[in-house]
């Protein structure tokens, strides 16, 4: 099994950011392992079994999320969000069993365009976040077994977070 270098991890994260920014959500979903978890905690120190999170998706729930965004008449993403993600401060820690932990910082800029005077539209928002991934090498490629996004404002009130943070 190849060791994951920081350069490898950056290539992976940049590609993931591009898929999300280009709203290629089904391709993004395919990056996840079958037992993956996608987690946006409100308080990252709490056990998700004991507390609600903003998002705590298993693979089935993640599929529902992507399906809802791409195949249903969703109001909160019509007009859709434009996003622009900067990925930085990438650190890699090798783990046992063909896995690697990747920590990074992301700055997600988001805006939904619309007509004049529309509340909630035309207003850029910034989401700085600490992101933690657990990647697993499977069939010659790295897959996401865990993606945990801790927003700087995780415990503050949020407007629509239905674009994928």
């Amino acid at each position: 099994m190849p060791a994951l270098t920081v350069a490898d991890a950056e290539r992976f994260l940049f590609a993931e950011a591009r898929l999300l920014d280009e709203r290629r959500f089904e391709e993004w979903e395919a990056l996840f392992t079958e037992d993956a978890v996608y987690w946006l905690p409100i308080d990252p120190t709490l056990d998700p079994a004991q507390a609600v999170a903003i998002i705590y998706d298993d693979r089935k729930r993640l599929h529902e999320r992507v399906y809802r965004l791409t195949r249903t008449p969703v109001l909160d993403q019509n007009p859709p969000s434009r996003t622009l993600r900067l990925v930085s401060n990438v650190e890699v820690t090798p783990l046992a069993d063909g896995e690697a932990a990747v920590d990074c910082r992301q700055l997600i800029a988001e805006m939904r365009p619309g007509g004049p005077g529309q509340q909630g539209l035309n207003t850029p928002r910034l989401f700085p976040a600490h992101c933690h991934y657990r990647l697993r090498h499977l069939d010659g490629a790295w897959k996401i077994a865990l993606k945990k996004v801790v927003l700087l404002t995780a415990d503050e009130p949020q407007y629509n977070l239905s674009f994928i943070p």
């Binding site: 609600v52 903003i54 089935k60 399906y67 809802r68 109001l75 509340q119 415990d155 009130p157």
Partner: protein, 424 residues
Amino acid sequence: MAVREEALGRYAELVADDPREFRVHGSVYTDPALFDVEMRAIFERTWVYVGHESEVPAPGDYKTVLVGTQPLIVTRHEDGRIYALYNRCRHRGAVVCRQERGHSNFFRCRYHNWVYANNGDLIGMAQSTGYPDDFDRSRYGLVPAPRFENYRGLLFVSLAADGPSFDEHIAPVRRYIEYWLGRSPAEAVEVSLPPHRYEYPGNWKLQAENGTDGYHGNYVHLSWQRVLALAREATVEESQHYRQSGSARGLAGGHGLLERPGSLNPNSSWTARMMHRYPDYDAAMRRRFTDEELVQISARRNIFVFPNLFLFETHFRVIVPKAVDRTEVQLYVYALRDVPDAINQGRFRGHERFFGPAGFGTPDDIEIFTEVQSGVRARGEEWLLLNRGQHRERIENGEWVGHTTDEAPQRALYRQWRRLMAEA
């Protein structure tokens, strides 16, 4: 129409309680001066929900809240009792607590070190020799909310010393709150912190109206219904049919509810399904309640307690008005006490699926709030219609009962709003 100018000081006229065409004026969502009056005439007059006792389980635990725009501390003292105190030092007016919640055995003003106990008593100040020997500390404690009530763990304050008692305020909705508590065989819930929080650029009443609105679901939440179909939990047709069942009720005092029928059939109600799945839960529930009570308990209800609280199946929903066009909403998920852990964990995950800022339902509702807030500025016609079902509603035991898609709860809300604003 010149209502806007004439209405200053005459806010009651912004609700037209017409027997055929109940209307509210658009300025109730947009007028900043009216918002200030609402805070005083409604939030500082009537009973306002400030939290659940399980948020402050131990002496020293506290949370800070806004009642309207008024800052309060809700805290448990070493005597075991909960106190609601204005968050304001008696000396020079600084807040004595800056955190959202935590644990502290006293509150210290950082300006000149005046220190207060959790019951509000002033227990010391820096360089106290600067005050005469007869300085009476007992007169300078943190000011308590004039009235405070712990109703079955739900904490309410009234910032007015007079006015209807808590019992009078809650009486019209009391039996529904008790059915809601009854899904726990201990008839008790425990809040799981932290809450979901969301904020939208719109008026607070948009959330208050929407939580008991049974008309929008099949349109605003079509994408949710499609997800349920994907998961093979219900076809879209089944979801839409379900949303036609039950009733919408407007209660005295501004309260209201949206109700789906109860049942002991595991295919027809969540409570019956859980009882069927977990024999311990079934036994505990049957020991505590009769079949008749269980049917009532198993009815699914969104209960609105005027002016700032909803009781939902999974959460307390607290409305925090911040400005005429800015509102925060807090969803406090709770565990049902004395039920299998698996039931509560399922409730948490089920809650996240629909509710909260990244759920599959809440963001669609928020989107609509912003669309109303954007639209009501238009002055071509300034009135909104809340007359759906007026011709077919009936009065039962003092409740206005309508078809599940009717606006009976919203009319009840605005009748109470009108009553309180008329006194402004």
